[in-house]
Symmetry: C2
Subunit: 187 residues, 2 copies
DNA sequence: GTAATTATTTATCATAAGATAAATAAACCG
DNA sequence: CGGTTTATTTATCTTATGATAAATAATTAC
């Protein structure tokens, strides 16, 4: 739990009482490499914090597997389109390395907001940050060539190339696996 | 102000005292068609609510004007990458029709969060909603052809085609103006 | 209302990236 | 360890979209 609170403390202070309240609704989870943490079709009712390992969110489009995003140590993983709408998610969370996570019951977590405004504030700031990242990502996709996007990834998230199979990276970059391979060959 | 509070009430209830506090830090603004409401390089310190008219956020990439997003009546306009980081924005807000807005001082607005948790809650939910829309938009860009993206826009936001000049729509869809024109001709 | 500006379309040519298939290379499993 | 599966690369061919230029249409300003 310590990693989680260290992460939270970057957004706003959280008194001990609030920490205890969160600890009471959280569980440690271990998942082996390549297993899905959440399946497509399940409604997102858990806020995950990745302590150790690597994960991705993906979905299927015409039977093709498309990676929406990657998650590394010390990050929150939620399927926002489901968590914030209450609708079943079209997306799955898959772990790409053996992983240790903290699972927080989202209903109970949201219920804490009334008693602990600090928790609501931290969560708000986490979402604000995620929102900004997503906006920036659109910009990165919009008018960059496949090669520029690959180079940008190497620069901004070199871990991705090192730790993630290329087949998952290609769709994340919005290109085919074959195209990514071609780009890599031209370097 | 009434339009703003009606909009807010969709997210969470807001007592009269909170409304008055917001009214006290807000101003009505009128801007003529095609004028910039905020310039590139300014730090975002205002939360706008569009009462009447139409606006867009745009930025320049290699001297090319790229539309990030469009905003219609009854929506909040902020340059999130600046508002949430405190850094100067690389983006401008331009009004595409004569517009009526409510301008809320963001510093003062955020300061209200401590006294009125309801306001923080409303704002959090607004950002959550915007975040989900942005995630969905990435999905729409990622593996759709230019034509599919154009068709999707006609379907999900027909107002855009009716009210916005095509030159602004093209970059929003991630394609050139010429390409958009070609797509329209093939229908 | 006419000229000047700006937006949109059309045409031509070039190219990045998709589709498909096959060859290697790497990872996994009994 | 050897065989099987899975991932990555390479090759060929096709196509959607970009770049550029020019024509037409619409809007704006005097």
């Amino acid at each position: 739990m310590q990693e989680l609170f260290t992460y939270f403390s970057k957004f706003a202070p959280l008194p001990m009482e609030g920490k205890n309240a969160i600890a009471a609704i959280s569980q440690q989870v271990s998942i082996p490499k390549n297993k899905n943490l959440q399946q497509i079709g399940q409604t997102c009712q858990t806020i995950y914090f990745l302590v150790q390992g690597l994960a991705r969110i993906y979905y299927l489009k015409n039977e093709i597997d498309i990676t929406e995003d990657f998650y590394f140590e010390n990050s929150i993983i939620v399927r926002a389109e489901s968590l914030f709408t209450g609708r079943p998610s079209r997306k799955a969370i898959q772990v790409l390395e053996n992983a240790e996570l903290i699972a927080i019951d989202s209903q109970k977590f949201f219920a804490l907001f009334n008693r602990y405004p600090e928790i609501e504030r931290i969560f708000r700031k986490i979402i604000e940050t995620a929102y900004v990242e997503t906006i920036n990502r659109i910009e990165g996709i919009q008018f960059n060539s496949a090669e520029e996007r690959y180079q940008a990834l190497i620069k901004t998230a070199p871990d991705t190339i090192k730790r993630v199979p290329l087949k998952y990276i290609a769709s994340f970059l919005g290109i085919t696996q074959v195209s990514l391979s071609r780009i890599r060959a031209n370097q």
